[in-house]
């Protein structure tokens, strides 16, 4: 029988190695797999390249992972957010690298990575600073830049419901990067609000088919990043 349920958060992240590339879901706090990130902090893997839209806020979740000096490079579209102090400080001090990618290009590069497409052309960023050094080409008299698919060693994703096969549904705009990040990693690790019996998710309503998921762990009552930030929490606590 196929059963992708991990026995604990720490077991779920146990093989994340030093130097790994890790995709982390979420747009702001929506969809951020905060409990998995905290497990990665406890686990301690270093020199990570993290692909995530933002850089976290306060001193919890992704910001705490960065503050704990586990991240050597961020690939993201918007490293600034309200209450984001950790990344800017390290960046200004030259202690963390940044690859800035337009949000839609980032999403499409992740999808391409998962879909076996090594490269594609897009009009996004043409004639801007972010296209400098990039190959470009005209199609129908319009200029496009060449962008490459990205893959990761691990993806950490938060979903709503999961079953033992790893089929997933999401909640509202917490869906954001989850479905594409699940497709683009060698090992996809998911925290689910609820794990239901196989067959309890209508096949028409599955957003991530189980084939893209390696491990699921139930986290019934995930923390809200903004609440932790308001309470001035700092991880590890």
């Amino acid at each position: 029988m196929i059963n992708k349920q991990a026995s604990s958060l720490s077991e779920a992240v146990v093989d994340i190695f030093d130097g790994a590339t890790v995709m982390v879901g979420g747009f702001g706090e929506a969809g951020s797999p905060i409990e998995l990130i905290h497990a990665l902090i406890d686990h301690g893997a270093k020199n990570l390249t993290v692909i995530s839209n933002n850089t976290g806020s306060g001193h919890v979740g992704l910001a705490a992972l960065i503050e704990n000096k586990q991240v050597k490079k961020m690939i993201c579209s918007f490293p600034r957010t309200a209450n984001s102090m950790v990344f800017p400080e390290l960046y200004r001090a030259g202690n963390i690298e940044l690859e800035l990618v337009p949000q839609g290009t980032l999403a499409e590069r992740i999808r391409a990575g998962g879909a076996g497409i090594p490269a594609f052309y897009t009009a996004t960023s043409v004639s801007t600073l972010l296209a400098e050094g990039k190959e470009s080409r005209d199609f129908n008299n319009q200029k496009f830049v060449l962008e490459y698919g990205i893959k990761a060693d691990f993806s950490l994703v938060k979903c709503d419901k999961a079953d033992r096969y790893g089929n997933l549904t999401y909640h509202a705009t917490a869906r954001n990067f989850g479905p594409i990040m699940c497709t683009a990693a060698t090992v996809t690790i998911v925290q689910a609000k609820t794990i239901v019996d196989a067959g309890n998710i209508n096949p028409e309503e599955v957003i991530t088919p189980g084939i893209f998921v390696n491990r699921v762990i139930e986290v019934n009552n995930p923390a809200h990043e903004s609440s932790l930030v308001e309470q001035e929490k700092k991880y590890p606590w």
């Binding site: 579209s77 990618v101 839609g104 897009t122 960023s125 705009t173």
Partner: protein, 218 residues
């Protein structure tokens, strides 16, 4: 030229209302963060406009009532929103396929600078110590059918924001179709900038003095 006590130009709400009047019934619209968000409050009666937010929602509704907030139902500015009956959620690759594929009719963005040929600068001042952050701005200007800009006509320091050439790094080249400021509504055309409408108690000369490139009249 300012007559004391007499209001010059439009306030922010009036600017937003001007944009709202120019959005046809049935349009699919993406609104940037800040003044653009106010546009949704001024849709004229009888029109229905559908709002997309690039983080994965088509059919964004008004802000939730206090106590009804869902921290995972947010807009691109990371504020809590609601979904209208008839809304849909989708992931980021699908959301930006919608944007990049030219399916959104209008996007209204704020601006740091706009050039006479419609270049937009709204993502970076280019300052050495700034943390660069772009988000979806470059995808939106490259993909949406019509880009409108809504902005104060001049900076806080009184310098023109409508320039011959942007001095900040651009978000996109020749992308802006129309500029709504507190002083005027200006069309960006192949033949230059044309003043479509002047704000209350604003003269053409008054706008010209605060605009670097030449302004023409229809």
């Amino acid at each position: 030229m300012v007559t004391t006590g007499k209001k010059i130009g439009w306030n922010r709400a009036e600017m937003a209302q001007k944009v709202a009047l120019d959005i046809p019934n049935g349009s699919y619209v993406n609104l940037g963060i800040g003044i653009p968000e106010m546009i949704a409050d001024f849709v004229p009666k009888g029109r229905e406009v559908i709002y997309q937010t690039e983080n994965g929602l088509l059919g964004m509704g008004k802000a939730p009532n206090q106590g009804d907030e869902d921290k995972e139902l947010i807009n691109a500015g990371k504020k809590c929103v609601t979904a209208i009956p008839g809304a849909s959620y989708f992931h980021h690759a699908d959301s930006f396929a919608m944007i990049r594929g030219g399916h959104i009719d209008i996007c209204v963005l704020g601006a740091m600078q706009v050039s006479k040929n419609g270049d937009l600068a709204n993502w970076s001042t280019g300052a050495k110590d700034a943390i660069p952050a772009v988000g979806g701005a470059m995808d939106l200007v490259a993909g949406v059918k019509k880009i409108f800009v809504i902005t104060q006509h001049v900076t806080k320091h009184g310098a023109p924001k409508i320039l011959k050439k942007c001095t900040f790094p651009i978000t996109g080249k020749q992308v802006v179709k129309r500029i709504y400021t507190d002083l005027a509504i200006i069309d960006v055309t192949k033949n230059g900038l044309f003043v479509k409408e002047l704000g209350p108690n604003v003269t053409l000369d008054y706008v010209k003095e605060r605009t670097e490139p030449k302004l023409k009249q229809y």
